[in-house]
């Protein structure tokens, strides 16, 4: 038994941190938030040169051929930096879907481009506000043509390829769509977190190809994998938010002493630290299950995703509160974290979805 990352993995993490410190300070996130660019294109390119997008893609497709533990470390650093790039949707979902369900032709058409960053992938499941179950979607496929509207699609405005959930003959499946094709209309959407793009995509008889074996259960398993990696991204963000808050409350004096000397603040900081540690431990376990394709993965993914979503959100709420008035200003960075935490928690099923799944999965594990 060993419940820690290896020295090599930690070295890779440090390299990623150094790269992002130099190339994605929080001002980079702010530029995308305030500007008209949908994502930081040069950062995306740089990340690809570091091998991040292709971390788990086999070397035969131009990937780095790392494992999931390495990808988890990269996800953590991307989260720490609030990197404004379409990393999660492209790497955690689209690339994963192709790795697991793509045909040889589909894989050789897209994996090299996804791995070297020349293509961006995304995942289109949701169709309307609310909790979108894979079984209840309205998009349909007939004779290789996809019709329906997806809303919202993370990075749907910039993606080159989408993995779309749709029904064919009443059965849910996943379909690969080249977004340069005909019958596709996309529109960027105003977003709560403009450092990450959102769009709606209308398909009207767009050409699509099924992904083999990607039924409703397979979609759930795909979400599990993405959930684990997203949990690392969330924990990275939570750690950074806590560090920035710590620095602020130690330096901010009121009543002749640092505000951090008040138990009303100290104790809540301690509670946040505990929340994040609980999330980290659950995420480590889930990363291990992911890397080993362990039967515990469906349960572990729920644990990691619930804990990370809640830890990140709670930390950013307190971050603004402890900063006082300046925490509520556009100028300070607190709102970048506050937005990202909520945006990430809404992707790939909210905590509500994962909590219900956890109970179901524990029961079926016990019954088995």
């Amino acid at each position: 038994m060993n419940f820690d990352f290896s020295d090599d993995q930690k070295l890779l993490q440090q390299t990623a941190r150094d790269y992002l410190a130099a190339n994605s300070p929080l001002s980079t996130c702010r530029e995308i938030l305030e500007g008209s660019q949908p994502y930081a294109a040069s950062l995306w390119k740089g990340a690809a040169e570091m091998g991040w997008q292709g971390a788990v893609v086999p070397e035969s497709f131009g990937g780095a051929g790392f494992g999931y533990l390495e990808l988890a470390m990269i996800a953590y650093e991307v989260g720490r930096a609030l990197a404004p790039i379409p990393f999660g949707p492209s790497v955690f979902v689209a690339t994963e879907a192709l790795l697991r369900h793509g045909s040889a032709a589909q894989q050789s058409a897209w994996l090299p481009k996804l791995a070297n960053g020349s293509a961006i992938g995304t995942f289109a499941l949701a169709e309307k506000p609310g909790q979108n179950a894979a079984e209840a979607i309205a998009a349909t496929v007939k004779d290789g043509k996809l019709s329906g509207t997806k809303l919202p699609v993370a990075d749907g405005d910039v993606a080159n390829v989408a993995i779309v959930a749709a029904k064919e003959g009443g059965k849910t499946g996943l379909y690969l769509v080249d977004l340069a094709g005909a019958g596709i209309e996309r529109k960027p959407l105003e977003s709560f977190d403009p450092s990450r793009s959102q769009a709606t995509i209308r398909f009207e008889g767009a050409r699509c190809e099924p992904l083999a074996g990607a039924d409703a259960t397979a979609i759930a398993r795909l979400l599990d994998r993405a959930a684990v990696l997203t949990a690392f991204e969330q924990i990275g963000g939570a750690d950074r938010a806590l560090e920035i808050t710590r620095e602020f409350i130690v330096g901010r004096y009121a009543f002749g002493k640092p505000i951090a000397a008040n138990q009303a603040i100290k104790h809540r900081m301690a509670d946040l630290w505990c929340e994040i540690e609980i999330a980290r431990s659950n995420a480590y376990y889930a990363a291990w299950a992911l890397a080993n394709e362990d039967a515990e993965l469906p349960v572990a993914a729920c644990l990691a995703r619930i804990a990370a979503s809640e830890a990140f959100e709670k930390t950013t709420i307190e971050m603004i509160e402890f900063h006082g008035g300046v925490g509520y200003t556009w100028e300070y960075d607190c709102h970048l974290f506050y937005r990202r935490a909520k945006q990430l928690a809404g992707l790939l099923g909210t905590p509500k979805y994962w909590k219900n799944q956890l109970i179901d999965r524990l029961r079926s594990a016990k019954a088995a």
Binding site: M1, D4, K257, Y284, L358, I359, R363
Partner: protein, 413 residues
């Protein structure tokens, strides 16, 4: 990272399990894990017999050095042993203080003679130990304790009162921290001893808890004499020794929080009904239980991470405070929620509803565990100051000699 056993670990686990299967009965999932504080002579005897059996087979205090009766096992092996033993019915453990706290303190700070004198009989269960730290006016502010020891020849004469001493009436030995110099700052004037609990001048009075248990005692010292060779570490170094004990205490209480039982809530809620349907079909019930399980599993995996740190030769630091802090609140909330699910029957504490009774027993025990070994508030201070590096609380006793520290509101003229 690997959550699976290595072949060597698997072999060790199989050996442990085989011995347990031969010597104990499997645990049923609804066995309450927290009660049993109310010790009787019979229970003490059972507990000692089980300890002796383990010691003879080499399964007692397995991480301790072989020369003192341990097995020289690694922390990981100890965790494996703990996981395996938890699957079996074993007598209530009266050695958690002796083995969890007193032994490690003596192994860290004692002389070779002191280790030889006390450790082997702790391993075999022949001698039971207690901890004499808190006082009526020194709980969270332990270093403000007032029980005094004055040196006379080769002995120390102790006067004062200790409180919250678990199992004092069953013990041969106690670890004791006392004030040996009131003229210096409070932390600097303390010294650590081992005291024979049968010494003349010791009087033990049981305290009844809210769950009717009598685990705790008041212990009064009147001119109790302790030979100087029972002093642990230097005169005036008692605070450093006490910290060793307290860190071990938090780890041992934290790891014994029984968070594994939280998952029993799933089965419990599927047996009860809300509006004619199993409670577990209620979305809010499911979500709440899921939240508890996320915390419980998180604590479990945190303890595994701590083990990895130990096996890499790192010393677990103040992070160990987390398991007691989070685990205590978690269990109290979970017990409260389980009782809510039981409806009006939640008021019953008897054998007609054994599963519910286990949660009720927990609900009555948990307030004590949230206080013992450091209250939630003290633990939050430790995490805030020692992990996050936040400034310490302002202290009104800072820089004062102990005798000058205020002890109550100023007297009015």
């Amino acid at each position: 990272m690997d959550f699976n056993d290595t072949p060597a670990e698997a072999a060790f686990r199989a050996e442990a399990r085989a011995w347990l299967e031969k010597n104990a009965k499997p645990r049923s999932s609804m066995t309450p894990t927290i009660s049993g504080e109310d010790l009787t002579a019979e229970v003490v005897k059972q507990s000692q017999a089980w300890q002796k059996k383990k010691a003879e087979a080499g399964w007692a205090c397995i991480t301790w050095p072989k020369e003192y009766g341990g097995r020289g096992a690694t922390p990981i092996q100890n965790a494996i042993w703990g996981q395996e033993q938890a699957n079996f019915e074993t007598p209530p453990d009266i050695f958690s203080i002796g083995i969890g706290m007193c032994g490690p303190t003596i192994l860290t700070h004692g002389t070779p003679d002191q280790k030889k004198r006390w450790i082997p009989k702790l391993v075999t269960g022949e001698e039971v130990w207690c901890q004499l730290f808190s006082e009526p006016s020194a709980g969270s502010d332990l270093a403000g304790l007032r029980t005094s020891a004055v040196k006379q020849g080769n002995e120390w004469v102790v006067n004062g009162q200790k409180i919250w001493t678990s199992g004092a009436q069953w013990c041969q030995w106690g670890i004791l921290v006392v004030r040996t110099d009131p003229t210096v700052a409070k932390h600097a004037g303390l010294t650590f001893f081992v005291v024979d609990m049968r010494s003349p001048g010791i009087e033990i009075r049981p305290i009844t808890q809210i769950n009717r248990g009598q685990g705790f005692n008041e212990v009064f010292f009147t001119d109790v004499r302790i030979p100087d060779d029972q002093r642990i570490d230097a005169v005036g170094n008692g605070w450093a020794v006490s910290i060793t004990t307290l860190m071990n205490e938090r780890m041992s209480i934290g790891s014994g929080m029984g968070v594994g039982a939280i998952e029993d809530l799933v089965g419990f809620a599927s047996q009860l009904e809300i509006e004619g349907r199993p409670a577990l079909e209620d979305r809010q019930v499911r979500e709440r239980i899921a939240e508890y399980i996320v915390k419980a599993r998180g604590l479990k995996y945190t303890s595994l991470r701590t083990l990895s740190a130990l096996s890499q030769g790192k010393t677990p630091g103040p992070e160990a405070s987390m398991s007691k802090l989070v685990g205590g609140i978690l269990q109290q909330h979970a017990a409260s929620f389980a009782m809510e699910l039981a409806g009006a029957s939640s008021a019953l504490l008897d054998e007609t509803a054994p599963a519910a009774a286990a949660w009720q027993e927990r609900y009555l025990s948990l307030p004590g565990l949230r206080i013992a070994g450091g209250t939630d508030e003290i633990l939050r201070n430790i995490i805030a100051e020692r992990v996050l590096g936040l400034p310490p609380d302002a202290r009104a006793d800072k820089g004062l000699a102990f005798k000058d520290v205020p002890t109550g509101p100023p007297k009015r003229g």
